[in-house]
């Protein structure tokens, strides 16, 4: 059964058509990759799915429910959680409190939400920063923090927007392992990424976007052979 269905999603900003008729069905537990050149509409797609933006037309069906036009908080509460390309920590708070804000959804008491947050923080490998102010984290730590906050909501599907961007290769490997772990635990993952090695290693299916529309969709090995993909995004050298 598919957990997420996008039916003819379009989004225009004035005359600019940022998304054009995107139709995709994502089965439960899939690891679904999205690539495309800058401005292809990848982040807009995430924003429309997660409720930060309303679509101009089309429908989003999540877990059998039409969530088109739902507010972002309601979508997140239902189990569809996204992260942001630019990290957005709550800077007045410690790492623990950043995550416990998300845990509060399940645990009303601050103490219980912190217990739960501490478990999630340990899972993403941030325990040594538990009581540090979130603003003092290095980039790799902030990326893990974004993941921890999203995981603390216990999502059914995670939308990850360039979670590897800005990291050096040695920092990427443990995060890739972490993403595999999360996926193994039963979370469906949809991710936008530019690091092709990670895309090839993780994606079960791969969507290539170009100028707001689907260029092609398929198994990663096939997709990267497609001459249109090579021309629009990868370049001849890939």
């Amino acid at each position: 059964m598919s957990i997420l269905k996008l039916e003819g999603l379009s989004k225009s900003f004035g005359g600019l058509r940022a998304l054009r008729d995107v139709t995709v069905e994502i089965p439960e537990r899939e690891f679904f990759g999205i690539i495309g050149p800058n401005g292809a509409g990848k982040t807009t797609l995430f924003s429309v799915i997660a409720g930060q933006l309303g679509p101009t037309s089309g429908r989003v069906v999540f877990d059998g429910q039409d969530i088109t036009g739902w507010s972002a908080d309601k979508v997140a509460g239902a189990g569809l959680v996204r992260t942001f390309q630019l990290m957005r920590p709550f800077e007045s708070m410690t790492v623990l409190d950043n995550v416990s804000i998300a845990s509060h959804r399940r645990f009303r008491s601050t103490a219980k939400s912190r217990d739960h947050a501490a478990e999630v923080i340990e899972r993403v490998g941030l325990s040594q920063y538990l009581n540090k102010m979130s603003g003092t984290l290095p980039t790799a730590g902030l990326k893990r923090l974004e993941l921890a906050r999203a995981l603390a909501l216990e999502p059914k599907i995670l939308l990850l927007d360039e979670v590897l961007a800005g990291l050096v290769p040695t920092e990427r490997a443990p995060i890739i392992d972490l993403l595999r772990d999360i996926h193994r635990d039963g979370v469906t993952v949809m991710f936008v990424e530019h690091i092709m090695a990670a895309v090839m290693a993780l994606s079960e299916r791969l969507l290539v976007m170009h100028e707001g529309a689907e260029l092609t969709l398929g198994v990663p090995e096939d997709v990267v052979q497609d001459p249109r993909v090579v021309e629009a995004y990868l370049g001849e050298d890939f």
């Binding site: 507010s71 972002a72 908080d73 957005r88 804000i101 501490a118 478990e119 009581n131």
Partner: protein, 350 residues
């Protein structure tokens, strides 16, 4: 709820994990209790003539504590808290003089009414995505509308204002006592302590923590499932209710309220300045700021009334207090950007 059973609680926790909320909140309540006891005895050691300054300082304190909830913790900078102070002040005066309603009850009705007005104003501003200085300007405009309204409404006696009739004897129910009664000091002291207690409870609770997350990054907060409008409006309601109580008490203490005393821009600044001087978004900052601003405003008033020879040109000058606030604010913003308490706390943490 299944995950609770999946992960054995308590076994994986790092042992260093502090239970800071409860300890944190409890420690703040202890500071509050100690402070309250100390301040309770203040009138016994200070000269009788200092009572008006003390009362004014306490009123500033309540206003600033209220303002700080919305603007400091909520990140919604209000430049119109005169609206809520004034609604409290006038609700008290109108209910008392027209219907003989006890000021205590009028205080509660005024607080509820102010909260409603505040929620409506904030909803309109936030609905149309006003933020930062635009939000501040919109709140200012609403407060000015209330000023005009009070100046032109027959119900509140237009520009003449409303006098509260003096009673022949002391009455707790009507909140009137002999002129120098310590009750006039103890009542606002308890109201202020209650306002601080509400702040502590709020800041350490789930709604308060959500509010601070929303202030830090509304987009991230919303994407973590927090309905941001709801929690912002809860914060606004609390903030306006507290400031309204300061207004109601003002009317009772001075036995008079007019449009200028209730709704002028000056009143909004009185709520802002102590919080900014003491430390915005901290529990104790507004109180420390009020302790500076209260006596200072009295000192300035005394100088203007009766200047020493070398300052004779200040005789009867109006607006000197505002000029001094302005200088003080500039000094604070430059040298102590997080306010007196906020900056000290930060230095101590390092």
């Amino acid at each position: 709820m299944s995950a609770t059973t999946e992960s054995p609680r308590g076994t994986k926790l790092p042992s260093a994990l502090p239970q800071r909320t409860h300890d944190g909140a409890r420690r703040q309540y202890i500071y509050l209790a100690v402070g309250l006891v100390v301040l309770f005895f203040l009138p016994f050691v200070l000269p009788e003539s200092s009572q008006p300054v003390l009362v004014r300082t306490l009123i500033y304190g309540i206003m600033a504590v209220g303002w700080n909830l919305m603007s400091g913790y909520g990140g919604m900078f209000s430049f119109g808290h005169a609206a809520f102070f004034g609604v409290g002040a006038y609700t008290d005066a109108v209910l008392l003089t027209n219907f003989g309603i006890s000021p205590w009850i009028a205080m509660i009705i005024g607080a509820v009414f102010s909260a409603g007005v505040g929620v409506l104003i904030a909803y309109l501003c936030l609905r149309y995505k006003l933020a930062g200085s635009y939000f501040a300007l919109a709140t200012f405009a609403f407060a000015q509308m209330f000023l005009l309204l009070a100046q032109n409404l027959e119900l509140v006696n237009r520009t003449e204002g409303i006098n509260i009739p003096l009673l022949p004897e002391d009455s707790w129910a009507m909140l009137q006592f002999g002129q120098d009664s310590f009750n006039y000091y103890w009542i606002p002291l308890l109201l202020l302590a209650a306002a601080v207690a509400v702040t502590i409870a709020f800041v350490y609770s789930r709604p308060g923590r959500y509010t601070q997350a929303i202030r830090d990054d509304p987009v991230a907060a919303e994407s973590l499932g927090i309905p941001i409008m709801k929690y912002r409006l809860i914060t606004v309601a609390l903030s306006c209710a507290i400031t309204s109580i300061a207004g109601s008490y003002y009317t009772q203490y001075y036995l008079f309220v007019g449009p200028e005393q209730a709704f002028s821009m000056h009143v909004s600044t009185d709520a802002i300045v102590p919080a900014v001087i003491g430390g915005v978004g901290t529990i104790w900052g507004p109180l420390i700021g009020a302790a500076v601003v209260g006596p200072l405003s009295e000192l300035v008033a005394a100088v203007v009334r009766n200047p020493p020879p070398f300052l004779e040109f200040l005789q009867g000058v109006s607006g000197l207090d505002v000029a001094i606030y302005a200088v003080l604010l500039i000094v604070i913003v430059v040298f102590l950007p997080k306010g007196i308490y906020g900056t000290i706390r930060e230095r101590l943490r390092k």
